[in-house]
Symmetry: D2
């Protein structure tokens, strides 16, 4: 896209009939804002997208925005390219499932929206439970029965702006924090704990408020949580593999133990039959449909024993730093800059690291 309001590429696909508007179930993308509380590129894109879909579906934008999750991560640091991935389910998505041709499981998609979350629940237990319930609903819709078949859960959570904090206070409520940046962090943790609960990676006794930003052994290796001012509900997209689905795509994931974990990148590609030695060849790269990465500046101010300066920087937000670095690494392995790299990976993957998921076409036999 040429700018955050540019949905012309999708418009062409719709006009040309290559994509049917009614098949679109979710959108995941990166926009070129700062990725923080005052990043309005996400809202701008969403408004543009929903206006486009509204024209094609004959539904009002404000109805669509409540039905179709549009999860955006702001911040295209370094080589990262603003782009969006459109998830569609065609009529024949289940046609060949379980057929005699012996096709293995294919990419399965399920989405769900929670009820609106008031500012005073953001980043608290009610938030965790709200996300967990939405993830379970999305899994059912994706016809994934075993949590082990889920490879990536994207959640977009509301956060607390200074204005929302004041409004909540005026209504007699306390908020988890009045600091907007911290509220985004807490919202992401609540999302991660919700996913961990739903996928059985943590139990209800562990995924509690008290462990948030404290006990980093409570985590999900498949959760990717964003937070932003532009949403008021938890938007959930579950991606996995299922024999109930057919199609050419498959998904895989790996935790990344730190920001230098090139091994995880190479491994997840290898599992999908895509070699990188050291870079994915152009022919193989064409098979890749989406790269989804979550990362985090190590809280302990070090990477493999050496100091990093991300956390103490007043000029550049720490999440912008880490997205640029990890984006540069993954782009170098892939030879492509269209990567969804989202910061704020608290409790999403190993502490100080994160995770990577790749959706790719099956190789032709």
């Amino acid at each position: 896209m040429a700018h955050p309001g540019d949905v012309s590429a999708l418009e062409r696909l719709l006009v040309d009939g290559k994509v049917q508007a009614r098949d679109i179930v979710a959108v995941i993308g990166k926009t070129e804002g700062n990725g923080g509380v005052n990043d309005f590129t996400r809202g701008y894109f969403t408004q543009s997208l929903m206006a486009l879909l509204g024209r094609h579906l004959g539904e009002p934008a404000d109805v669509l925005v409540k039905r179709i999750p549009c999860v955006l991560s702001g911040g295209c640091e370094g080589v990262l390219t603003p782009h969006y991935v459109v998830l569609t389910i065609s009529d024949d998505a289940h046609a060949a499932a379980g057929d005699a041709a012996g096709n293995g499981p294919a990419l399965a998609i399920g989405t769900a929206m929670s009820a609106p979350l008031p500012a005073w629940e953001v980043g608290r237990l009610a938030h965790i439970q709200s996300v967990a319930a939405a993830v379970r609903t999305a899994m059912e819709r994706a016809q994934i029965t075993s949590p082990g078949d889920v490879h990536f859960v994207q959640v977009k959570c509301p956060c607390i702006t200074a204005a929302r904090a004041e409004a909540a206070k005026a209504q007699g409520h306390t908020v988890a924090t009045a600091d907007p940046g911290r509220s985004m962090a807490l919202a992401r943790v609540a999302g991660a704990f919700g996913v961990a609960l739903a996928l059985g990676e943590a139990d209800a006794a562990a995924a509690v408020e008290d462990a948030m930003l404290r006990d980093f052994s409570v985590l999900s290796n498949r959760a990717s949580i964003s937070s932003g001012v532009e949403v008021e509900v938890n938007e959930v997209i579950v991606l996995g593999n299922s024999t109930a689905w057919s199609g050419p795509l498959r998904i895989s994931h790996r935790p990344m133990r730190d920001a230098l974990d090139i091994g995880a990148v190479v491994d997840v590609l290898a599992e999908l039959g895509i070699p990188a030695a050291p870079q994915v060849a152009a022919a193989e790269a064409a098979r890749i449909a989406a790269i989804l990465v979550k990362c985090e500046p190590d809280r302990r101010a070090q990477v493999r024993g050496q100091r990093h300066t991300m956390l103490d920087d007043t000029d550049i937000n720490a999440q912008r730093h880490i997205r640029g670095a990890v984006g540069g690494l993954v782009a170098g392995v892939l030879g492509d800059t269209r990567i969804f790299v989202s910061g704020g990976a608290e409790h999403q993957g190993p502490d100080g690291g994160g995770l990577i998921a790749v959706i790719a076409q099956n190789s032709v036999a």
Copy 2:
């Protein structure tokens, strides 16, 4: 180092006798400023370093600073670690050279300082010629006769601040540009052209003012130029291999064709006998003495056909973006974040790319 004024690590080595102050001929480092005109971390480090060396050598700091090049690149974006490399020449540096043991060429070092460059010469032909002359002097001192044996030339050039531009104007001179950021770019190009001239990568007819920031086929694949407010002369460090030297270290380099050129990183390591598949193993990593990288946000606003947003960003300087991305890539291959990554690679390596040089110990047979 813990902060830009911290030279305690070197102080310990000096006190312990592991490094002799008189052997120190140059320092190359990264400090955690913004890397721009108003990055004072470079001056702070230099002041601290020269005060330390002054105490150990009994020479005033203002004399030392004119003798020992201290080339710093500000900006530790992403995972990069503030650090410095101290280049020393010991008494027996030439002892075993050409000996019967059949040792091949070893790392050779030569330094030189130009005369002070007035603000009105910065970024102009006189600047190019000043650098070329200093590089030739440094090569002689390094006892490198063939330009092909030079693998890396680090130059630090003065730039034009708003104040210096005003002062020059008051003295009746015009300056190449009154824009401080642009002056840093022009100074870097002058440096690159000077190196290209000295190494025979370009001829005097090509490396002219008119080609600066226009004809990107005029370049040096071995020049790394920094620019900053804290210097008034061109400081030059030539690094190469020479049979006139002995010692355990050797240097190699590769141009990087773009910000995703992981192949160049793997290749230069391979040439030094260090495999990275996908990451350098800890045992091999211990052999690496220095990683020197130069990179640049592609002027054409694309990397491999995909848009990047670095050049249009009002919040984060484009050089900060690219250092973070390329630093993330190289650190991922190495498994180490102590990398000298310098932005502003105009005419230093292929357009839109840059270069990498590695100094490593020879492997034990």
Copy 3:
């Protein structure tokens, strides 16, 4: 507004019938982006506004956007409040003009749009002439015959992004500059020169390309030029006083000689009968309809003989610095933070200063 896509305040006025959509002729506002090339809050607001007006007028947004100038300045540094001023002309705008009641001249408004300006004309002579012609058209529409009765001309000019520069090059054209930030500056100067030509503040021999960013004696004391990626034509709004108009509003202006010129602020208010000693009282403040300010970080790196650091700052754009400072000063005099403060005042008001215009209701006798 609560965010750059929030036009709910205007929507309420339209729904309540307090403003008629068909009366709206122009909008001037400040949005909370960075004010630079990659500030998309302007486009976001414009999209939201035009969608709203489209619903009320039954016209497509892409038609409206070509008819109603929407001039936005990004950047709400310091105390500045995101807000927008809606300029309307009601049916009885000319009713009482020249009546026996002896009302003096009232606020007069005229708008015009130039033809689309290709990237290769941005910041060049063709740009100057395009703006001058549009200003003359807008003056005619405002029924202002004497240039002396014009107090403020707001122009929004297109600029050159990295992508547009590449596209122009691909079509065989050179652009004035490939540097996006510099293109915004040149576009602003072209606009200022166009206004100066139209108002007789400069003649055709002076307002030429060669004087741009060089001869700062060529200027307009009534031009306020913005530049942004979201427009392709020059949008012009002329504001003045005219006896052909009736109504309670009047406009006045003053050049500001530098960023500390509090006298200009107090004087322009005094001319409208509003005392500030030191601050405008609440009752008088209620008469103020709009404050329009243009300012600039002094190129010579000094304010009244003392150094400022705005031009050498790699972390914060110089225009963001100056908007914050001048906004703080004007807001302190007014006791109100809803001020349109726009940076980039090259050739708009005295060099290193800028200008201020105020629209206020006549005081009740």
Copy 4:
């Protein structure tokens, strides 16, 4: 000063004998860093200053730094000029005190240093008490017996960096916060509470940890607290008026109720006999020796009922925003940009506002 390491102006005064090195008791200044955790311009200036004083006093810099408070606030946003105020006490400072000539009280200065504060005490009760004790000591040294005669107390407190937090943890201690930015805020509050205790503005029951950043009615109208990585002790400078002192200078102060409180600026000047209508005339401006301002972005995200965007900005730190705005206002009233404006005014002056103090020469009769 030309850059943060430039102490040449003071050097000239020392060399010319206009200032005696032994008379220097404290330095307060603004340096052009970002004012945050990673602002090393403060350390750079301090190192330069102490090296200079060391040469003139024959004392080692590391001794001097523990004796002479050097309180720096980073961040010269907008029009602010990097500068420093050198406080000296000459031999005859008490000569004419209480003399028959009927001179009123004159500026009185007292300084004190606390013991080193470990990271785990930063921002806690022990920190408050440490500051209060140091303020009382400084008052005694200033020969000020009535707290009402104290007009300004500058304190510089240590903060917690990511590295210090890790170190404290390794020693088995918890820290008040691991977030560096928040630690600076807590340190400032501890300092403010300490001053409030010492001056009787609050009592020991009120100025407790629990009230920090919660109960903003606990405050000091005369405290100005900075926090930075470069100090490990609390450095205290008490300024007031006392009949035990003689000399031409006097100090006054006013709380500022918000960022628009131009009235406080005009009032404090008026108390010193300096009119501003609207700006201080040059002749009167020459009497001003120092302007000391403390300010704060209003926590409630509004200034006088209108939204501000400072707290939600990911690109520019909120303290940088407010310093630029309030600096612009005060500079406009003064006609001078050499103003010490420090952010982070939590509990220092009214909530959302701050305070201003002015040191000026008595007018000649």
